[in-house]
């Protein structure tokens, strides 16, 4: 009796194992529709479909699935629900706001062993700011997939009309201020200025290009009282002063009456080629150059990076790592990103490749203000955004206070020290 029972158990086990072995392995990917950069995009899943097709061709017997139609604003909640119901994807895109949470609660796989154990993988191909963005307490939990940088949009038509040459990529605040001062004037003679130097240039951008680091890496203390911060605020106040108290509107920019505006690379990629080229900003010639350098900093801007992570509970670790590499490391995928997405690939060799030269040449080489080599340098110099838990709240508070300071509502002397103290208090929670 017992013998029969044991035989039955063994047979069932063998059938079960055979079934498990013959069943195709399925990997799931968590992805949101559209892109991370708030710019319009045509074929939402074109890149991922192609990547999955390539991956499945390379790994027979493996199926890769994803849930389509999740909007970016719903993605964070969707992912959290998947984690709670235990059905999270094997690899998934991680929004910058979610990264620290998922890394700290152990939802993301620690990738250090994979990185160290994979001979075909080297972190040197990435731009440091992109790779480090996927780290939490110096441990890699996600790999960068694509990045975007902030550049300075230049209205070439306006500058040509005013007889000003397009600034070089190593231009400084003085150059910036000089041009702005020159172009700000009243054209129609109604007594108020209607042509402006710049629109939307924030104190954050000024501070970063002047080498300010707002917070300590752990997000427990801030450096708003830094002398470079003071320089940046003073510069912004001077720049605002040029407008004579008149607020520049987006419409002024759209109709070509503003010389400069910070512009993300994603916007540049979206609006520069056809069809957007003729839909927006079609009444003037424009281009992008690097951000102006502060007196104590450089032509630096913040580089936003989209990360892809692996679930710590995945059953197919090695396949998931392979798929993760397919998204974030594979040269073909990175070139696909260069070709089809609005963002920049994170591999240095892809950025400076011949294909990049070709893709970026919407204009002839000699008239283009920025080359792939310039972009690569900018990405190397770029800093990464902070992503600790209270960052958004602290920045919101700082913005409110600094807006008051810049507008002159709060007297400038000692205001930054006070701000630093208040923010530090806020960060303790």
């Amino acid at each position: 009796m017992l013998k029969k029972f044991l035989i039955a158990v063994v047979v069932i086990a063998i059938i079960f194992l055979y079934y498990m072995a013959s069943r195709p392995t399925t990997l799931t990917v968590g992805i949101f529709a559209g892109n991370n950069w708030d710019v319009p995009q045509g074929e939402t899943y074109a890149i991922i479909d192609e990547v999955i097709e390539n991956f499945e061709a390379e790994n027979p017997g493996v199926k890769v699935k994803y849930v389509s139609g999740i909007k970016k604003e719903d993605y964070s909640e969707w992912l959290a629900e998947q984690f709670i119901s235990g059905s999270e994807p094997d690899i998934f895109f991680v929004l910058a706001d979610d990264f620290n949470l998922y890394a700290s609660i152990g939802a993301l796989m620690n990738l250090e062993d994979f990185i160290a154990g994979d001979k075909n993988f080297s972190v040197d191909v990435y731009y440091p700011a992109a790779f480090k963005f996927g780290q939490y307490e110096n441990i890699s939990y996600a790999l960068p997939c694509e990045s975007t940088l902030t550049f300075m949009f230049v209205n070439k038509t306006l500058l040509a009309k005013e007889g000003v040459a397009i600034p070089k990529n190593d231009w400084t605040w003085e150059d910036f201020l000089k041009i702005c001062r020159k172009v700000t004037r009243d054209i129609d003679g109604d007594g108020v200025p209607d042509q402006f130097g710049c629109y939307d240039y924030s104190w954050q951008q000024a501070a970063i290009s002047n080498g300010v680091k707002f917070f300590r890496d752990d997000g427990k203390t801030s450096y708003f009282a830094d002398s470079r911060m003071e320089e940046a605020v003073k510069f912004i106040m001077e720049l605002r002063g040029l407008n004579g108290g008149f607020e520049v509107s987006p419409k002024d920019f759209d109709v070509g009456r503003v010389a400069f505006r910070p512009f993300t690379f994603a916007e540049y990629r979206t609006y520069k080629p056809y069809p957007w080229r003729i839909k927006k900003y079609s009444s003037f010639e424009w281009d992008c150059i690097k951000m102006p350098a502060g007196s104590s900093g450089g032509n630096i801007s913040v580089m936003e990076t989209l990360l892809v992570g692996m679930s710590s509970r995945t059953h197919n670790k090695n396949l998931a790592w392979a798929l993760l590499k397919k998204f974030c490391y594979d040269e073909k995928t990175q070139q696909l990103i260069l070709k089809k997405s609005q963002a920049l690939p994170v591999r240095r060799d892809v950025i400076i490749s011949a294909e990049a030269q070709e893709i970026f040449s919407w204009e002839t080489r000699d008239t283009a203000a920025i080359t792939p080599a310039d972009i690569s340098v900018a990405m190397d110099e770029a800093i990464m955004p902070f992503k600790f838990k209270n960052y958004n709240a602290a920045m919101l508070y700082a913005d409110t206070e600094l807006t008051k300071i810049i507008a002159g509502i709060v007297p400038f002397n000692n205001a930054l020290n006070k701000l630093q103290k208040e923010i530090n208090a806020l960060l303790q929670y």
């Binding site: 964070s76 909640e77 992912l79 959290a80 629900e81 984690f83 709670i84 119901s85 235990g86 059905s87 979610d98 949470l101 998922y102 700290s104 609660i105 152990g106 939802a107 710590s312 509970r313």
Partner: protein
């Protein structure tokens, strides 16, 4: 109700209650997770929880499996006999208990008391209280320090309760505390019953002992009574024998002699005949007396030749007591009288018994020698001897018996205890200069 008031009943109730509490807490966690997912607050929950929860189905499966494993191990633990199996099962029980607590995110630590109850149930000394102490300290340490040592991420029960509004939250937390408290009440009651049970058992054993002692005493009294009765019976028998044989013969003889006195002068011939008859009667009386006395002799002496009877007796004794008894016979008188045989037999028997009983000897050597005038018996053992020999009943008895035969007895301690008995054979030896007992 009466059934639950036994230790076993209470033990079962503890299991059932804990199973119920665990099921409720598990159901609460699973349902809350489902509700969180439906109400779009998943991300906020993750932020508050600080860890990734297991999915509801896994929590359900793992909890059910772990609890039933715990119950099974508990049963085996109580049933198991060998000590090593017990330790193994107890260790397994602790591990499963830890696992169960982890699955439940340490929301309920009542299972620790369940494990303690199992251990107490089979308490048998063997320093089990230390095992219990260590196990409970470990389990509570883990429970209260959130698995810091194991680095396992745990979602606090409060995080789950925080999903509900403040009123509901306070009710939920109060309910959970009630679960704890009731469990503790049950456990304490269980312990009380256990202690009471142990106490009753002790009391019962004490009562049984008392009764046993009483029975023993009655038995002793009865034995004395029986001995007295046997003595009385023996005395009666002797009296009857004397009456029947000696009395009969002596009466006959006395009556015959009276007649002879009367007829001595008148008819000397008849008297002569009569006296012959009286002599026959006297002889017959002597035979009868001899027969009666024979009945009082030991069986071996009756059955076997004397020397063989001695060997038989010592062999039997050494077989039953394990003492090694050796004989060294230099000379032997073949025409010993029956009373002499009896005395020798009794002296040897008594000495061997003493060697065993008082000297705890393992070897006894019996030497028998002498000449035509006397017989010398030396009994030496390797026991612990005696510094200051007190003449007990046995020795006194031997002396009395020997003195009846004009014999002597000496005894002293050397490398054991030595008894030396001398029996004169045909004449008085008291003043025999050839014999020196020392």
């Amino acid at each position: 109700m009466q059934k639950f008031l036994t230790v076993t009943g209470m033990h079962r109730l503890l299991y059932v209650y804990n199973g119920f509490a665990i099921f409720i807490i598990m159901a609460f966690m699973c349902l809350t997770q489902e509700r969180i997912n439906h109400s779009m607050t998943a991300r906020a929950f993750l932020e508050q929880a600080g860890a990734v929860p297991q999915s509801s189905s896994i929590i359900f499966l793992e909890t059910t499996l772990a609890f039933f494993t715990l119950v099974l191990i508990g049963r085996f633990y109580i049933k198991s006999k060998s000590r090593s199996a017990k330790y193994f099962l107890f260790a397994a029980e602790v591990i499963v208990c830890m696992f169960l607590m982890c699955v439940l995110n340490l929301s309920y630590d009542g299972v620790i008391l369940l494990v303690a109850a199992d251990l107490m149930y089979k308490h048998e000394g063997h320093r089990q209280e230390y095992t219990l102490l260590i196990a409970m300290i470990c389990l509570y340490f883990i429970a209260n320090y959130n698995m810091a040592i194991l680095q396992t991420k745990i979602i606090s029960f409060e995080a789950y309760a925080s999903y509900y509004n403040a009123d509901a939250k306070s009710v939920i937390l109060a309910l959970r505390n009630t679960f704890y408290s009731v469990n503790i009440v049950f456990f304490v009651f269980y312990l009380v019953l256990l202690v009471k049970n142990k106490h009753e058992e002790k009391e019962r054993i004490r009562l049984l002992n008392e009764r046993l002692e009483e029975a023993n005493q009655r038995l002793r009294a009865y034995a004395i009574e029986v001995a007295q009765m046997a003595e009385t019976r023996e005395r009666n028998r002797l009296a009857r024998e004397i009456h029947d044989t000696l009395g009969h013969a002596l009466t006959g003889i006395a009556a015959g002699l009276d007649a002879c006195i009367m007829t001595l002068e008148i008819a000397p011939e008849l008297t002569k005949q009569q006296l012959n008859k009286i002599r026959d009667t006297a002889k017959k009386g002597i035979t009868d007396v001899r027969r009666s006395v024979k009945k009082l002799r030991p069986d071996d002496l009756e059955r076997l030749p004397f020397q063989e009877a001695l060997l038989e007796m010592t062999k039997d004794y050494s077989a039953s007591s394990g003492m090694e008894i050796t004989f060294d016979i230099f000379s032997w008188s073949n025409n010993l009288r029956q009373d002499q045989e009896d005395v020798i037999y009794r002296v040897l028997q008594e000495s061997i018994t003493n060697a065993k009983r008082h000297g705890h000897a393992t070897k006894v050597k019996i030497t028998i020698g002498g000449n035509e005038n006397y017989l010398l018996i030396v009994i030496a053992d390797n026991g612990r001897g005696c510094e200051d020999v007190k003449q007990g009943f046995g020795l006194k008895h031997m002396r009395e018996r020997l003195e009846l035969l004009h014999g002597t007895i000496h005894y002293w301690s050397d490398e054991g205890f030595i008894v030396e008995a001398m029996i004169p054979l045909n004449r008085e030896v008291k003043d025999d200069k050839n014999f020196n007992s020392r």
